[in-house]
């Protein structure tokens, strides 16, 4: 009898114990969103973002190529994050970089080649696909690959909207810097993961020559890969289906564009652009005489830079010299 009771208790308790040890993807998303949005300072927010990267199985390395956390990267020329990019994202999220409209986020994807075969991706496409991705994520809430979509949704809820209930045709939403980055990751990482076909050396696909000519530019990057893939893909699945039909086959042949795009997006988070002019106008066309004009002025500043002041020493961005904190030349305005 005693044995039977114990067996019953074991039978009953084990599932609960497992459940407690393995939180659902939804609860992970909520926890991360809370940590990211409620962090009191940038270092704390950076820790939350590092945890996010680990949950997505994205490795983090220093500019010298030292391992902060290994992930699913398949080599030195694969995708991973630098620790200073995490710092930049933490600053942008905390400092209130202006949220981006869906059309601007779509532009970032277009720049990476993520668009249908015969046209560019629009903001409307993105919202529609994202809403579908979130719905799909909650249909299989224990799948770790649902994390980016769920986290995008949870971060949206902190801003006052819910991607599971919005009307893509009428509701206006914007995306904060972390959401923007998650969208880029969720749209591209599955494609990037498929860029290396079985039997074909990764070097064929990830053969970008680092900016530095040094042969030892990898450091420890990629040497401790855990062999698991990145946890993402609900958005990519929506984008590649009709009616949007992003051409995944075409973009899988240009993985370098995706990796560059992801690093560019992270790096752009180190820049603050401030308006020096109030809103302008209205001015009226001339009627043959003098006309009123409008004057626009902005100032761009680098707010975050890598810990070392020299060029990045290892990995995809080896040789890239980041601007020092302060005024930044070369930012386009139009």
């Amino acid at each position: 009898m005693k044995l039977l009771v114990c067996s019953l208790i074991s039978f009953c308790l084990v599932p609960f114990a497992l459940q407690a040890q393995t939180p659902s993807t939804g609860s992970v998303a909520l926890d991360l969103a809370t940590r990211i949005t409620q962090a009191p300072d940038d270092p704390t927010r950076g820790q939350a973002l590092s945890a996010m990267a680990q949950a997505l199985n994205i490795g983090i390395y220093t500019s010298a190529g030292q391992t902060v956390a290994a992930g699913g990267e398949r080599g030195c020329m694969d995708f991973y994050l630098y620790d200073f990019e995490v710092k930049m994202l933490a600053w942008a999220e905390g400092a209130g970089r202006s949220p981006a409209a869906p059309s601007d986020v779509a532009k970032a994807l277009n720049a990476m080649g993520v668009h249908p075969a015969n046209r560019l991706l629009t903001g409307g496409d993105l919202i529609t696909a994202l809403a579908g991705a979130v719905r799909a994520a909650y249909q299989n809430p224990v799948d770790p690959a649902a994390l980016p979509a769920m986290l995008i949704r949870e971060l949206g809820r902190f801003q006052g909207y819910d991607l599971t209930t919005i009307d893509p045709a009428t509701d206006t939403v914007t995306f904060d810097p972390v959401q923007q980055y998650l969208i880029a990751l969720d749209a591209t990482l599955p494609v990037l993961a498929q860029a290396a076909k079985p039997g074909i050396p990764l070097a064929v696909y990830f053969s970008g020559t680092p900016a530095s000519t040094s042969a030892s530019v990898c450091g420890a990057i990629g040497t401790q890969s855990n062999g698991r893939r990145w946890q993402a893909g609900r958005l990519a699945a929506q984008l590649t289906q009709p009616p949007i039909s992003v051409d995944a086959t075409a973009i899988s042949t240009i993985p370098g564009a995706i990796i560059d795009g992801l690093h560019n997006e992270a790096i752009s988070n180190s820049v603050r652009v401030t308006s020096l002019s109030p809103d302008q106008g209205p001015v009226h066309y001339g009627h043959g005489g003098p006309v009123d004009t409008m004057r626009f002025a902005v100032v761009a500043e680098t707010m975050v830079q890598p810990d070392s002041t020299g060029p990045v020493q290892a990995g995809w961005l080896a040789g890239v010299q980041y601007p020092a904190i302060g005024p930044l030349a070369g930012v386009g305005v139009d």
Partner: protein
């Protein structure tokens, strides 16, 4: 650039300099026809964008989209919009004594209108509506090749009430009419009349000259003031012409719709202004009546 030009220091023109600052001045355009058209406007933002300096972009040889990185400054420009180009047809139905020697004619002219270049009048069709056993073929030759058309003319009456004159034409009934048919010589535009609140469909036409000639004899008997007898008479006289005219047809328009279709009857002008000039047409005691049907579509402003 759509609404004007940028003036700035080349060193900091649309790209930040060493101090991180970029400054530019926008100078709006001059209106081609100052004050003409509907008040319109446009707005947007000026902001900074990330310059793609990626190695992949270099490898691909493609220009990346400009991804905004912040500092949007809103701007607003206003201008008088001549409402783009309107294209379509304007059909005139005219009844009265406006065409001599075939008085009491009723017919129609179809004006096909384009923004810049006219416009072919595809037909001239004057036909007496009184009916007669006598018929004449009238060939209208427009100024544009291929625009001629055929119609029946039954010049059996004139005056009001009609006076039957079945022997107006004898011999050959072939009459040719030549001349530049009336056609628009300006874009069809819209502007708002602040007094009436109506929009005015505005365009002007060239004058119209008709020269008619019978191939044998043209007789006229009756009360009409054209010809009494003769052979191969030319019908070219002042009454065979239309002067150049300006039409301002009041319509109701929401300022947005790109299609306009409707009828206009000057006798029932909604503004009470009868903006279509009619006086010169009232000859021979028979008031001219004009009805206009317009069917236009707005195209993008050029």
């Amino acid at each position: 650039m759509q609404h004007g030009n940028i003036a700035c220091d080349p060193a900091t023109c649309q790209i930040t300099g060493q101090d991180g600052v970029a400054a530019l001045t926008f100078i709006p355009k001059q209106e081609a026809n100052p004050g003409f058209g509907v008040m319109d406007g446009d707005s947007g933002t000026v902001g900074a964008f990330a310059i793609a300096a990626s190695r992949a972009a270099v490898r691909l040889g493609t220009a990346s989209e400009r991804v905004s990185i912040g500092a949007a400054i809103n701007w607003q420009v206003t201008f008088h919009n001549p409402a783009g180009a309107w294209t379509g047809t304007i059909t005139f139905e005219e009844a009265g004594s406006q065409v001599l020697p075939w008085q009491n004619a009723i017919g129609s002219e179809t004006h096909t209108i384009t923004h810049r270049e006219v416009a072919v009048i595809t037909s001239v069709d004057y036909a007496d509506n009184t009916g007669s056993a006598m018929e004449a073929e009238v060939t209208a030759t427009g100024s544009v090749a291929g625009s001629g058309s055929f119609s029946k003319l039954t010049p059996t009456s004139c005056g009001n009430p009609p006076v039957t004159a079945t022997d107006i034409l004898t011999g050959s009934t072939q009459i040719s009419v030549q001349g530049n048919n009336r056609k628009p010589n300006s874009p069809v535009t819209l502007f708002r009349n602040p007094q009436s609140g109506y929009y005015l469909l505005y365009f002007s036409t060239n004058g119209m000259q008709l020269t008619g000639k019978s191939s044998s004899q043209l007789y006229h008997k009756g009360a009409c003031n054209a010809y009494t007898d003769g052979a191969s008479q030319s019908s070219s006289n002042s009454e065979d012409s239309f002067d150049a005219e300006v039409f301002q047809i009041p319509i109701q328009w929401d300022g947005q719709t790109d299609r306009l279709e409707g009828d206009y009857d000057p006798d029932n002008d909604p503004t009470g202004e009868t903006p279509v000039p009619l006086s010169q047409r009232n000859v021979d005691g028979v008031p001219t009546r004009v009805k206009i049907h317009y069917k236009l579509q707005r195209t993008k402003q050029q």
